[in-house]
Every structure is written in C-alpha cells, then in structure tokens.
Symmetry: C2
Subunit: 212 residues, 2 copies
Amino acid sequence: MIDKSLIDYRVYLVLDPDLCADFGMVETAVAAAQAGAGLVQLRAPGWKKKAMYECALALKEKLAALNVPLIIDDHVDVAMAVQADGIHVGQKDLPVDVVRKLVGPDMIVGLSINSLDELKQMDPDRVDYIGVGPVFRTSTKKDAASPIGLKGLEAIVRASQVPAVGIGGIKACHMGEVAATGAKGAAVVSAICGTRDPALATEALLSAWQAR
Amino acid sequence: MIDKSLIDYRVYLVLDPDLCADFGMVETAVAAAQAGAGLVQLRAPGWKKKAMYECALALKEKLAALNVPLIIDDHVDVAMAVQADGIHVGQKDLPVDVVRKLVGPDMIVGLSINSLDELKQMDPDRVDYIGVGPVFRTSTKKDAASPIGLKGLEAIVRASQVPAVGIGGIKACHMGEVAATGAKGAAVVSAICGTRDPALATEALLSAWQAR
C-alpha cells in the first residue's frame, strides 16, 4: 500500500495511447518512472475495457517494482480489478463520494478542478489530490476547457486543502513558474509521451522543477 | 435481490440514448416494463459516467418498483454504484472472471456471444445468460459483427449451458422464429426505443413470442 504522505507529485506522467504508439505505453511509463516520475496515470478514453485492463495489469507489475503509484483515469472498475494505487476522475465522471464508497479509504482519489467554484463544491475529505487546469492550451485532451493560466492555477492551489498539481500544456520551460504557484507538481502528457527519449524528458522536467 | 431462476427473458429492452431522445430513457423503460418487458439494460457507450450514473439511479428506482431487473452495459463501477441487478459485458469489455470477482455471486452477469468458439471459451459458472448475435443486420450498434442468422443463433443456443437471448435487428415479425431456436427471449433496441408507443411495441413483441 502507498503511503499517501510520501507521494512525489513533481512529475506526474499521464500516458496517451496515440503519443505512446511508437515507444509503447509500458515502456514509456517505465522509462519515466526510472528517471524520477513520481506517479503514472493510465488514460485511454478511446479504449475498450479489456485493452485497458490488460495494459493496467502490465503497468501495475512494472511500476510496483519501482514503487511508483499507478493511477487509473475514469474507470473505477479497472482500478479495482488491477488493485491500482489510485483513481482519477473528472467533473463528468462518477462523483467522488460514489468513487470513495466503491474503492475504500486507502486508494488514492484524484479529481480534476477547473475553477474555484468546482473546488468549493468538492469534499476535501474524499479527495487526495486535485489536478488543476488546463493551465495552458493543450492538444492532447480534446474536450479540455479554456486555459486558466498560471494565475488561475495559483488561485486554486492557494485555496485548496489537498495537494494540487497543474495540468495542461506544461513543458520543462514552465516548471519553475508552476512550482512558484505552490503546486506540488505538474501532470504532463506530451512533455514525455512521444518524445525521442522519455527518460531524458522526465529528467529535464525534474531538473527544471528543482532549479526554481 | 432478484431470483435468477425467475427472470423473464422474453422481451429484454436495451435502451438507446439516440432513439430514446424524444420519449426519454426512463419513460421508455417504464412504459416497456409496465407492458411486460422482463429486463432493461442501460447501454450508453457515448455517455460520460456521471450522466450514466444519474440515469441508472433513476432507472433503478422506477424498475425496482416494477420488479424488473436493471442491467448495466459494460461499466461494472456504475452497476456497483447504483446496486444494479446485473451487468452485461462484451468480448472487448472486462473479462467475466474479473467481473464476477468484482460484483460477487448475486449480481446477474451477461455476456455477448457471436460464435461457438466464444461460447467454448466461456466459463458457464461465471455467466448467468448470454446475448447471442447479431442475428440480423442492425444499425443501432455501430461496431457489430456480421449477422449469424437464425441458424447461427440456434447452434449457439443448443450448445449453451446458460439461458440465451437473441439480439440484433429482431422485430415482432421474427419473434416466433427466435423462440423456435430455443432462445429464452430476444433483446431489442429499435423494436421499442423510438417507436411511437413503446408500451404497445412491447406488447406486440410479447404477443408474437407467445403466439409461436
């Protein structure tokens, strides 16, 4: 079981099947985890569940050996089936009180937050972290809301009772500014997935965070 | 809890959000259930889970009062969250052994079967019924396989150790032939959803079944 107080949110990899098509989902996750990514999320909204289940099983095995938590996007059933470390839901997915009831107290529950209003409506006792954004414009999430910018991120981070990570279009060059908002880290997709060297890309993100 | 030996499979309504857009999902389900549909499935592959959860909650309340089981398509988490009576999965969804482990022994588990090969690979101890098809050409399931016809249906029905229902393009005029294969019923979408009078449509299907 993951000690929630020890989660390293600085570089939180969100996998993307299209961008990872060449290098591989598991291969990208392992390379990033070995290079210092502290969390890995399996997000594959276009996949059927058997494919997602099988990928999650493979990820779970590899990431557990590296002591890096595996988070499943949206599908609580897949998360429960593979005994993932966590589940991440958006505002249009299952409500967090329902999620928490299904998964119990130990599983990490993350929630996407786009505004202070959404944060106010959230029960912080049921959520372990929030993903705040999109900070910048992003092309990897097709139904993403309008960017909230670094100021929008900072306002939500400061109001949040739970750890917050920024998400949406964040590259190595932004890491210092994201860290300065008080966020615990940055969730990234295209800054790692589909790059020529996912390990090197992860190291660059971590260095940029530490150099703030 | 549903007594599985008493399930009336004859007319099994599968809801379709597009076809039910005018009359309403819950309204269609209630009208059909009152007219004799023995099972109702919520199938909404294009919906996000919050919408599916809310619709499932509303259906559960109405159908429980009519003693008609509610089956959820694909999403085991939604089925568990609303304490649905059953879950239906396809070959590309979570494997039935995984599903059965998640939902326990009491929930109805249905599986889509397209061929004798798929039936042979199925563990009948984990599955309560199978949906066999597509029997005829259908427009309501976009990724449907090639039709197996009444002969294909009959071959699978005769080989199955669990109750089987035909699915795919079945209208009132086919009900006699479907019944003659030994199937316990027919799962229908467009024969009820989107018709001018879903209750009357259900009655017509039931009458046709009984008149075989």
